[in-house]
């Protein structure tokens, strides 16, 4: 497995401000191969977006302290690379799609012009070639009238169309990794389905590795091959989507799935997770989920490492093997 596009190992980082320090990520492990779509799921504050930003070195340098681990992208050690070196990767080798397409686009510039700049910046194409590429880039994200859209401004497009444009920009330089941070959260469900299909198609056609960040387990289930579940900056479980979502091993993943109203019996109340999200300024010594966990026992005072429960399915829980057998 030397041809991994992205490999994050044992990544820990904290935000240090005015004497206070909050541990944001702790021993995060993640890897993505070419053409693979890997989901990163978690609730707000779980560190999903921080992970995405860390990959591209976009975290505020003054306050971010990396305490352990490495991020290797295509053989390049990101944490050891200079800002200039990483800047060359952004947009070209690593593409981004963010949640809100309106804020990702320049409101004062036509779609065609924005796309043109992106293409010129990341390729050796001449002006005429780049203009032609604008057209094909829009066609590739299945925009039916590219000749009309390229002369329009972002506000003239619907949310779904704008997100297509953002994807076209992210894919314009044919990146090896596409980071999609909640790409469909701001969109309607019917549009969401189209955008997710589009991302899957592009990943397949170009062999692009995709990191799909979402809080929606349904989105993950339908789009990804593997998933990593984050809780308070720690990977609690990861593995093949069908395994993790159908036979979750970690009590947090189990509780999260049970708290969805989708399949709940209307006569009963939903299952909820007791307690509150931990204060990351004082990360507990033991298992991060123990204070809220119904299966807690003595062993949980020691922090469980991510262990392999079954083929490619790993879980950070002491109770995992004794339960659900």
């Amino acid at each position: 497995m030397s041809e991994l596009v992205l490999e994050i190992k044992n990544l820990s980082l904290s935000f240090d401000t005015q004497g206070a320090s909050a541990s944001i990520l702790k021993n995060v492990e993640l890897h993505i191969g070419p053409g693979e779509i890997v989901g990163l799921v978690g609730e707000s504050g779980s560190g999903k977006s921080v992970t995405a930003l860390a990959i591209s070195k976009l975290l505020p340098t003054q306050i971010t302290k990396f305490s352990s681990g490495s991020i290797v992208f295509n053989g390049i050690d990101i944490l050891a690379s200079s800002e200039v070196e990483v800047a060359k990767l952004r947009g070209k080798r690593i593409g981004f799609v963010f949640q809100e397409p309106m804020t990702a686009l320049n409101p004062t510039m036509t779609i065609g012009k924005q796309l043109f700049h992106v293409i010129r910046r990341h390729s050796e194409l001449t002006k005429t070639e780049a203009l032609a590429k604008v057209r094909t880039a829009l066609e590739e994200v299945l925009i039916s009238k590219p000749e009309v859209v390229e002369n329009q401004y972002p506000f003239q497009l619907s949310g779904g169309m704008r997100q297509r444009v953002v994807i076209a920009m992210a894919m314009a330089a044919n990146p090896t990794l596409l980071i999609a941070d909640e790409p469909t959260t701001a969109l309607d469900v019917t549009v969401q389905a189209e955008i997710l299909n589009l991302i899957a198609k592009l990943a397949k056609d170009h062999g692009t590795a995709v990191l799909l960040i979402s809080h929606d387990l349904g989105v993950i289930a339908n789009s990804c091959s593997r998933v990593t579940v984050l809780y308070a900056g720690e990977v609690v479980e990861s593995g093949i989507v069908s395994e993790v979502l159908r036979k979750p091993q970690h009590p947090y993943t189990q509780a999260l799935i049970k708290s969805l109203p989708d399949i709940a019996d209307r006569d009963n109340l939903l299952e909820t997770i007791a307690g509150e999200f931990p204060d990351l300024r004082h990360r507990p010594e033991g298992c991060i989920y123990a204070p809220r966990c119904p299966k807690k026992f003595e062993a949980c005072e020691v922090r469980p490492m991510l262990r392999i429960a079954k083929d490619l399915h790993s879980v950070a829980c002491w109770a995992a093997e004794t339960v659900e057998k």
Partner: protein, 264 residues
């Protein structure tokens, strides 16, 4: 036979606007009719721009009706032949985002008591008694000491509990819930949904539940209306909508929802 607490008939609302001197008309709500029975949870689902929130605003008297009628508790409260008297306190609303729907300068107690300002002196003193407020704050799962805090000291889920307490303080006959869990995390959403469900059972409340989340609607609502581009395309029981949808748009909406439990 249970009575209709709310009857909406042939409701229309069009927004007019002008760009570059060209007039446009947006038919946000066109010819919408439905009724809600006492003690029922009625769901309105649809995508953005379908008119869900416009209907909520028309019900709350935040927008004026172009044509059609809204009959609440036997009285015409908006539209043709209405006396333009809004039944303050009898219809209450909970908005989507509790970060923006609670005044940051007010204490939780002030926020909860505010809707009482529109009621008669007599009602105000009974409903606003400290005993009542205490009962209410406990009913929504918060504690007495929370009453003197300000919104910024609470999490999103707790703030939504405050918004629910504010809606219930007047003992409303109808509560409009406009996407009350959309801004919340999954685990917090479950807590708020449980709260809404328990309160509904305990006090026999009537809800108009507006949402784009089919899972939540399926769990909470007895009957459901499906909106598409301002038109109500289908109204049916929960069971019918999810098992035997008749309208093409309802089918499309249901098939677009990514679920964890079907082969993708």
């Amino acid at each position: 036979m249970t009575e209709n607490i709310l009857q909406v008939s042939h409701l229309n609302k069009t927004f007019h606007f002008k760009t570059k001197n060209v007039k446009h008309a947006n038919h946000a709500v066109s010819d919408v009719s439905f009724e809600i029975k006492q003690g029922e949870v009625f769901g309105l689902v649809g995508e953005s721009g379908s008119g869900k929130s416009t209907i909520a605003n028309l019900l709350m008297n935040l927008e004026s009706v172009d044509s059609g009628q809204i009959i609440f508790n036997g009285e015409i409260i908006a539209g043709t032949d209405s006396k333009n008297t809004f039944p303050y306190g009898d219809i209450q609303i909970v908005f989507q985002d509790p970060r923006s729907s609670l005044d940051p300068r007010m204490s939780i107690r002030q926020i909860i008591e505010e809707p009482l300002k529109f009621l008669s002196q007599e009602k105000r003193s009974t409903l606003g008694s400290s005993e009542n407020i205490l009962k209410l704050i406990r009913a929504v799962g918060l504690r007495e000491e929370h009453l003197d805090r300000k919104p910024h000291q609470f999490s999103g889920g707790q703030r939504q509990r405050v918004a629910i307490a504010r809606a219930l303080v007047t003992q409303p006959k109808l509560v409009v819930l406009d996407e009350p869990t959309s801004a919340l995390d999954i685990s917090v959403q479950a807590q708020v949904i449980n709260l809404l469900k328990s309160l509904q059972k305990e006090f026999g409340l009537t809800y108009l539940f507006i949402s784009h989340n089919m899972g939540v609607v399926k769990y909470l609502c007895d009957r459901i209306g499906v909106l598409n581009l301002g038109k109500l395309v289908e109204v049916a029981t929960n069971e019918e909508i999810f098992n035997r949808p008749t309208h093409e748009y309802t089918k499309k909406l249901l098939s677009s929802v990514p679920t964890m439990f079907q082969e993708g």
